[in-house]
């Protein structure tokens, strides 16, 4: 089939960006969306033009590197599917396809479809962990974790950190991302000692990075390729309120 792609081209962070139209032909339904961009890029290089920059790595939907807004939807039209796993059998011959980077103040554009998501790393650095030095762990089976808690923790831990939730949110809020980590660690017994401190530090960092607030649109859950549920945000809110009303200021950490 043939497609018309309108791709956001922006040579540098401060440069003016614009949509550029490209016609692609011979698109097979078995191709992935990124493979269409690969083929287009090969043509651009042959023509002496700069190829379209886009992040990608595992192409199996697990590393979280890829991400682009396709026809207004982060990762495109397919539920629970990253852009790299989106296949062309979901498009029709002659379709117009608009491709843009994630748009959020906290995710500045690096080039074309590539954005800087290091804000997510800084949120994890602020508290998204359990403090355990290598060598100090107790025998694993001394700690019983009810299966439903382990399963719930895994549901939250499935987050791949791609940023689609931010891109989908009208407020560019990172609440789903933060809630997923807070919930993953907060429902496990191992995560209890730092539970309050963790949520406070992560939320502070999230706010400082320039993400917006959550106003319950639910767009994040709809866009999430791992179907992380919005009820984790309720958990985050509960943990946060409990922490700020009952605990003192978090003490400084040591290595």
């Amino acid at each position: 089939m043939k497609l018309s792609l309108h791709v956001w081209r922006q040579p540098a962070p401060a440069a003016q960006g614009r949509f550029v139209r490209y016609e692609v032909t011979d698109v097979s339904p078995d191709m992935s969306f990124l493979e269409v961009l690969d083929v287009l890029n090969e043509e651009l290089i042959h023509g002496g033009e700069a190829p379209i920059a886009f992040d990608h790595d595992c192409r199996e939907g697990i590393c979280g590197a890829c991400g682009m807004v396709i026809n207004g939807r982060p990762h495109g039209p397919q539920r629970a599917t990253t852009a790299c796993q989106l296949h062309m059998r979901h498009f029709t011959d002659g379709q117009e396809v608009w491709i843009e980077p994630w748009r959020a103040r906290a995710f500045p554009v690096v080039k074309d479809l590539v954005v800087d998501r290091s804000a997510f790393d800084r949120i994890i650095q602020a508290g998204g962990f359990i403090t355990v030095r290598a060598g100090s762990a107790p025998e694993a089976n001394t700690l019983l974790v009810p299966k439903r808690d382990a399963d719930l923790a895994m549901d939250a831990a499935a987050c791949i950190g791609c940023g689609a939730c931010v891109a989908a949110c009208p407020n560019a809020s990172a609440m789903l991302f933060v809630a997923a980590k807070v919930s993953h660690l907060g429902v496990l017994p191992q995560g209890q000692p730092e539970r309050g401190e963790r949520v406070v530090r992560m939320v502070e960092r999230m706010d400082a990075e320039g993400f917006g607030a959550c106003t319950n649109h639910g767009e994040c859950m709809a866009a999430c390729p791992k179907e992380i549920r919005i009820d984790f945000i309720a958990r985050l809110n509960r943990d946060f309120l409990k922490a700020v009303t009952t605990t003192a200021a978090p003490p400084p950490s040591s290595p």
């Binding site: 097979s28 339904p29 078995d30 191709m31 992935s32 493979e35 690969d38 002496g48 190829p51 920059a53 992040d55 990608h56 790595d57 595992c58 192409r59 199996e60 697990i62 590393c63 590197a65 796993q85 989106l86 998501r117 290091s118 997510f120 790393d121 994890i124 650095q125 602020a126 508290g127 998204g128 962990f129 359990i130 403090t131 355990v132 290598a134 060598g135 100090s136 762990a137 025998e139 694993a140 700690l143 019983l144 974790v145 009810p146 299966k147 382990a150 399963d151 923790a153 895994m154 831990a157 499935a158 791949i160 950190g161 993953h184 660690l185 191992q190 995560g191 950490s253 040591s254 290595p255």
Partner: protein, 637 residues
């Protein structure tokens, strides 16, 4: 050059304990004066960087991805082995050791493998404490499953995303140290060379992938945790960015490269669907626990699978290997699948796969039971192929997946360059000629959490390192060389893209140095790799500049290194005139088509020394002694 493995004396079960006592310690107050560079942030790199920082060392960690959380360890699906014997099914450290040595077809160093089996139990403790959500029984205890190549259930897992969860555990430990200022993280930075001064690794030169800036980083020790080189085949299950550059550049600076021809082809991947294919996707081998592999008995049978009656199906692994059946090791399963496809029994639109059928498992466990175990894998299969594996069998075919070869390291994980370490898939150490499923995660974390942090201290405590800075002539020289190479890639301005060269190289190696190899094929391949490399430097086209974000340029540098490395890989495969593990030489097989080792001539690690451009590499041999596991032909029948 003499290879000294530095394996400690004494009975094998006491070696590591004794060695840990013999290792010198660095005074806690002095640790902060030592700076360690860790390249790579996968399971090995992230766990090493975090643990070194916990100990008090100053650490810089580099990764080419935009975040350390995206390293390719994240894609490992099935699980991680540990000799916990929670299932009371006869497992032990000895058995894990034995299985790994045997599974590796007797080409691994016994002492390293034993240590790995010992440490395996600590890894599960560590990861559980970090909050890794391993699968649990209803009583709250950890669950296990079995995996290819073994007869016990020792694999711990987190749905089909074990690698992701283990990596996030290590990433979170690393993030904590970044937050505390103990680790400086450099994402989107690619190591392009090692700096060696007076025989010791003293730092690296990196290129910032956003700005193109080239910078030098001084260290007291350098750790390479840069993964494997399966992408030399272009189509592999590795992430697109995985490459050989860091280990290859280290090799050119004096680190010997061991067993480069030991490349694992994973049996359960989704077959390619056309020429546009950019990579291959692995379906966890845990699927082989419940799926049955078959092809139509009749060659060229094009009926849909549901219309082929039971008695016209050839369950070839169950037929050939009654005791292990569908759970034979990866190399055996892959080779047999290739034979079936080559002899006209292939299935699917391109007749390039074999079936993996869950019908019986669904009858036995119910649909819900299968969903519980493999939900994400079935979903992934449907997304890629558009087929529902509950309604029709999956189609699978082998694909390059993991490389057992890597930089040669001694028992301390140090390469032949002092102060330069290689951990995880980047080294050659523990898997011999074939890796068992769920053992890569184990090895990466063993190296990073529990081996390197001890052994590196010994080096730092003993070494009297002269102070050097980035203005040292050695650093300036290497920076200039790196910049010159980048400029050279941009200057060719030819007519073919980097990917076109990469595909040509991959096709050549897959045909000649893939699942089965011959002397003639390899000799020819070496000539053709050389020709392709010359052509690359004449005709490659890299658009854009070296001073900004340029993904074509990144790829070009990596493919240029693959084009050099591929020749060594073929040389190694040509020189090893035996079949062992994944290395199958057609001239060396038993009458029933099994690999035939030649222990009298090849029970050694082949470690290759770089002797300069255009001169043949020099072979050094580390003889392997098998004191505890007796040399025997593997049999899974």
């Amino acid at each position: 050059m003499e290879l000294r493995a530095k394996v400690p004396g004494g009975p094998i079960q006491e070696k590591w304990d004794r060695h840990r006592f013999d290792l010198k310690l660095v005074n806690p107050a002095n640790k902060r004066k030592h700076h360690v560079v860790v390249v790579g942030s996968g399971l090995a790199g992230a766990s090493a960087a975090a643990t070194l920082a916990e100990l008090g060392y100053k650490v810089s960690c580099f990764c080419f991805q935009d975040s350390p959380r995206r390293a390719h360890s994240i894609a490992a699906q099935g699980g991680i082995n540990a000799a916990k014997n929670y299932q009371n099914d006869g497992d032990s450290i000895w058995r894990l050791f034995y299985d790994t040595v045997k599974g590796g077809d007797f080409r691994a160093r016994e002492a390293n493998v034993y240590r790995l089996a010992q440490i395996s139990v600590d890894i599960i403790d560590q990861c559980t404490a970090q909050g890794v959500p391993f699968a649990r029984e209803y009583g709250g205890l950890l669950a296990n499953r079995s995996f290819g190549g073994t007869q016990v259930s020792r694999t711990f897992y987190a749905r089909g995303q074990t690698g992701q969860q283990l990596l996030l555990g290590a990433y979170q430990a690393l993030a904590r140290q970044v937050g505390l200022g103990q680790v400086t993280m450099y994402p989107r930075a690619e190591m392009l060379d090692v700096v060696v001064i007076e025989g010791k690794a003293r730092g690296i030169v990196v290129r910032d992938l956003v700005t193109g800036a080239i910078s030098a980083h001084v260290a007291d020790a350098v750790v390479l945790a840069t993964g494997g080189y399966s992408n030399v085949f272009f189509l592999s299950t590795n992430a697109k960015g995985c490459n050989v550059t860091a280990t290859w550049r280290a090799h050119k600076r004096g680190a010997l490269f061991a067993n480069p021809c030991f490349t694992q082809i994973h049996p359960t991947c989704i077959p390619p669907s056309g020429h546009h294919q950019s990579k291959l996707t692995l379906m966890s081998e845990s699927l082989r626990n419940d799926g049955r592999i078959w092809v139509p008995q009749q060659a060229g049978d094009r009926r849909p699978p549901t219309q082929i009656p039971e008695d016209e199906r050839d369950f070839f692994l169950e037929r050939l290997y009654p005791s292990f059946g569908n759970l034979v090791p990866r190399d055996v399963a892959s080779r047999r699948a290739k034979e079936m496809v080559d002899s006209g029994h292939g299935v699917g639109p391109l007749a390039n796969g074999v079936y993996l059928d869950f019908r019986e498992a669904v009858e036995r466990l119910g649909r819900a039971g299968i969903v519980e175990r493999y939900e994400n894998l079935f979903a992934m299969y449907e997304r890629i192929t558009g087929e529902d594996a509950f309604a029709t069998p999956m189609r699978i075919y082998p694909a390059p997946h993991y490389t057992m070869g890597g930089l040669w390291v001694d028992y301390n994980l140090m390469t032949t360059v002092e102060g330069l370490y290689a951990i995880g898939e980047a080294n050659f150490s523990d898997h011999g000629a074939n890796r068992l499923g769920a053992s890569a995660l184990m090895q990466g974390l063993a190296d990073g959490y529990f081996v390197l942090p001890y052994t590196i201290g010994d080096y730092l405590a003993r070494g009297k390192l002269a102070p050097v800075g980035v203005n040292h002539t050695a650093f300036r020289d290497v920076e200039a060389q790196v910049a010159a190479r980048v400029a050279k890639l941009l200057a060719v301005n030819g007519t073919r893209t980097v990917d076109e060269f990469h595909r040509d190289l991959g096709t050549l190696l897959w045909d000649r140095c893939g699942m089965s190899r011959t002397a003639d094929g390899l000799s020819g391949a070496i000539e053709r790799v050389r020709a392709l490399r010359e052509r690359f430097w004449r005709e490659v086209r890299v658009v854009g500049s070296g001073e900004d974000f340029n993904q074509s340029l990144e790829k070009a540098g990596r493919v240029a290194d693959f084009l050099e490395f591929a020749e060594l890989m073929c040389e190694d495969a040509l020189h090893r005139e035996e079949s062992c593990g994944c290395h199958f030489r057609e001239e060396h097989q038993t009458p029933d088509g099994e690999a035939r080792r030649d222990d009298s001539r090849f029970a050694y690690v082949a470690a290759w020394e770089y002797t300069g451009a255009g001169t043949p590499p020099a072979l050094h041999k580390e003889r392997l002694e098998f004191e505890y596991v007796h040399l025997a032909q593997r049999s899974y029948k």
